[in-house]
Symmetry: C2
């Protein structure tokens, strides 16, 4: 079991190196495993795809969900070469794998110039103190749609 | 200027309704604007695409970046029909629009069953106290790739 963990993490680390070497993006890789089988994988592809959301974990989660035909990663383990940023952490909670293994820490990432800590700090701030200003408008209009959601029948809950 | 804001938010709210009516996912929409022009938009499409990351903001950010051919939303405004979840908030910080307008609040979302607050709470917890367990393995192996990233020439920073 311990050996399996190292094996799958090695795959994630290899994906981090491959992505870096191929100029896809930063040195990050991720593998998702269900019942001992890899069902999704990804390298950071921000530079290649001009997609700021294409972190390794996001790419792997999207790949795994596509392969499973489901938006939940029930009974899956996620192996990421680095501790997730807040975006990827949020995605992990929406996808709900049973466990996350990571190798490099947030501190290791900050040391090579990927400072997720700034975002972690911003999340905890009240809206009016954030570096990107957040302003609420049109709440009444938007709330009508929420009320109609409650009344809607046959909705898919996720 | 104030009128423009209401106009673009109305578009985001219409996208939230369209997505709901078409069964794409939850009642959430988003529009991204640069120099008074819509350059990206999205409805929540989690149910349609089986992609747990397909929140309205993520879909709109990916659309806008594709259209701009760039992973940064410089000088862009993001209009979302609801205050972003932690995943989308992280994506917003990576994409760096200049301002975010939102209509429904997190509290409004929780009232119709979308409880992002659980994820906000988990983010603040130390790894060992989270509902999804996080375990660090193979740090030394992964760190080798990080060291090679520092040595790499001609890298794309994002």
């Amino acid at each position: 079991m311990e050996q399996n963990r190292e094996f799958f993490m090695k795959m994630a680390i290899e994906l981090s190196r491959d992505g870096m070497d191929q100029g896809k993006g930063g040195p990050f890789g991720c593998v998702i495993v269900k019942n001992g089988k890899v069902i999704g994988k990804g390298s950071n592809s921000v530079s290649l795809t001009n997609d700021p959301t294409a972190h390794a974990e996001m790419v792997a989660i999207r790949d795994a969900c596509k392969n499973l035909g489901h938006f939940q990663l029930e009974d899956c383990e996620l192996y990421t070469s680095c501790e997730p940023c807040p975006m990827c952490l949020g995605a992990i909670y929406w996808a709900r794998p049973s466990k996350v293994f990571y190798a490099n820490s947030k501190k290791d990432a900050a040391e090579i110039g990927f400072d997720d800590d700034f975002i972690y700090q911003e999340i905890e701030l009240p809206l009016e103190k954030r570096k990107i200003p957040f302003e609420q408008i049109s709440q009444n209009e938007a709330k009508k749609v929420f009320k109609d959601w409650l009344k809607k029948e046959n909705k898919n809950l996720y």
